[in-house]
Symmetry: C2
Amino acid sequence: MADLTLLTDLYQLTMACGYWKAGISDRRAVFHLFFRRPPFGGAYAVAAGLEDALAYLEGLSFEPDELDYLASLVGADGNPRFPKTFIESLASLRCELDVEAMPEGTVAFPHEPLMRIEGPLIQAQLVETTLINLVGFQTLIATKAARVCDVARSPAGERETVLEFGLRRTHGPDGGLSASRAAFIGGCHATSNVLAGKRFGIPVRGTHAHSWVMAFDTEREAFEAYADAFPGGSVFLVDTYDTLEGVKVACEVGAELRAKGHELVGVRLDSGDMAKLSIGARDILDAAGFPEAKIVASSNLDEVSIAAMKKDGAKVDVWGVGTRMTTAYDQPSLNAVYKLGAVRETTDGGWEYRMKVSSTPAKRSIPGRLKVRRFTQGDEWIADAIYDEGLGLSEGALVGPETGTTRSIPPDAKGEELLVPVLRDGARVGERVSLVAARERAMASVDSLPSELRAIETQTRHFVGVDAELSAIRERITEEHR
Amino acid sequence: MADLTLLTDLYQLTMACGYWKAGISDRRAVFHLFFRRPPFGGAYAVAAGLEDALAYLEGLSFEPDELDYLASLVGADGNPRFPKTFIESLASLRCELDVEAMPEGTVAFPHEPLMRIEGPLIQAQLVETTLINLVGFQTLIATKAARVCDVARSPAGERETVLEFGLRRTHGPDGGLSASRAAFIGGCHATSNVLAGKRFGIPVRGTHAHSWVMAFDTEREAFEAYADAFPGGSVFLVDTYDTLEGVKVACEVGAELRAKGHELVGVRLDSGDMAKLSIGARDILDAAGFPEAKIVASSNLDEVSIAAMKKDGAKVDVWGVGTRMTTAYDQPSLNAVYKLGAVRETTDGGWEYRMKVSSTPAKRSIPGRLKVRRFTQGDEWIADAIYDEGLGLSEGALVGPETGTTRSIPPDAKGEELLVPVLRDGARVGERVSLVAARERAMASVDSLPSELRAIETQTRHFVGVDAELSAIRERITEEHR
């Protein structure tokens, strides 16, 4: 990854300078990265982007040209924005952060830290913007993909093939690369993005576009030329001129292919009433002797339109999902936030809790050095508990951070810690989760979620509660600020 | 820029291989990159992203590791996806394309090519995905920024300061860098994105976050520490606990600053009823003797909310616009397309027109090797004409490509060619437009647009017509495919 140290908001550096000047830049601090509302009207998110975040943190350092740039900045009064001695102090900065995080592919709920960042205040503050950017975006896309892939199932519940075709409308090159990576974690089977294939080992897929058909005098010539070039991999895009006529031409060229010992792999539909056209295409293919040929659909698809097409009886085998998945079209930001949870006066002092107070309950942050424990009983999701590492998880009932409703954990429930150590003093620790393993974790977790939490649109929430003792501290701090 | 040659859809390479196998990869072809609907419910777009597109095209080449990756791919039948000889042919590929394009900052309308790409079919096809990615995204964000900056005006119509604060929610690192660049072209005055400042020379701005306030025991201590660090640049974020109380504390610290010979620069509001709070904040600041202190607003702003706040009498001097601008929240894709317009059989043969036919009039592309001429009379925008370079602009009336309505150009109207040569045989030609010049062009163009085309939400369209002779050809081709 390119050097991202300066890929941050100026105010992170302004605050860093302020902490340095106030003599508190090495004060130990804990921040949490989380979201407040599950995206897309659903109930859950799928954590992603951690690998990029850790690569960024490990590489945190200011190069000479970066320091020169900072030294060149002037404030409103025309004087240098940053003192020379501060800039010199940045030259020796190396990452000393400790990070706990949810492994990629973990199903996450509102208010749960996806990452906990602890270390010198100046460092933990500096990385806010970049971490939100990297983890917020990939989590958003992995979630979208999980939702799309969850809907693309056969009547028996088996997952159908979903291909990610969204590169062209993503937000710049990294927007495209990160989106392909995150969509794979969320459950997509392959991508059209060749560079993502090369860099991440994701399977790549794709055949031809309308322009291929238009480059020849007739659709038939175009299909024949494609069959000639790729006799074993012919999927014809049939809607350049007239979809069902195109399917008939595909069958004719399929017959020629068969005469040469190859089989028509399938056809792709990219416009029109896709449910109706897929039924018509299936009929034509079956009648022409191609019952094994697949129908690929690919026009502005997302979980909503796939569900609607399925309701309308669409005969689609493979879903090519693009723009609406890789730009998270209906909600292009997770709106992740990064909030201070605690600070320590001196290295041997105790932790002081800190929180953002707000008249909106959802916007009050949770103070502490947080951990998250997920409780299950067999296949049943019971509740997630957010608690302070120092206080531990007390005996009392959990308290909903927005609602104030309480829930007790059955004594025989099984608990799993969701935040695991991934960085210690700036160096990677723990096992690295492969992209394939992250994808499997995501799919298995979504499969095991209760159906009311998997609905496309739902007000139902998995119970996420704050430890009773910590919740009382949170209420006390809120009172103090009133 | 990193090597983007493989940042493409696999089908571009599949088609490239097919063209190569069919012996037509060097057939000359012309493609156009355009959009069909102006984004965000408005009437116009602002072209951006060309510099990145040209840097990509100039650098187009396959490195050995990229060719090795392509050679490693297998098709559905388990055989290598691409013949070895094809991959060898890619090794010597260098860009031979000719490109005409609208300079960055040009106001563009539906169906007008933002870029025209001409050259060997294999190359002109290969670059589709990357060009749509680079130009589509930056055009989207420049357009959003132009709309936001157009609304952020004083009652006298003067542009107020708009700061782009959106890095954290952008789609990955490039999503952030490109967004900052495009937002500046659209009219933003500065960015919070330090790397964008370094790389593109955009002014950077920013002071402190809630976490700064939370890192101290009291808000007052936090403000005092900030004033101590930056006595000449104090803008205090006042809403960590209670906004108007925070303004009072800011005034107290402002008085201390004044006693030391410095002035309070301003306060920033980031939550709540911003219009009401800004009026309250203005009153407090004025009463406390700080009539010059600026009020900065920054909470989920976009052109709609800024217009609403202005209607409610908001007293805001500086607008900090983030997520909703840099993710193009209400429409995160321009949905730009790239369509074949013409092919040539042999190097000395004539051009054959090609077009995408569709039952939806808006989805029929315009055949030809297109140029765009903008006609004005004094300050008045008359019409834009899309015509074929070979046929020229005929005497007949222009024909709306979707509506079929016609319009004649007054003989004394002034015409300006919007597509200018930028690449010849793969090398840059013509004057490079600086970012500052692109921004000035965009702002001047938006300022001169008729108000009905600048409305936030409008069905009014600038008349864009196809040359009469070309339009007749387009109808004939459509008929032939019926």
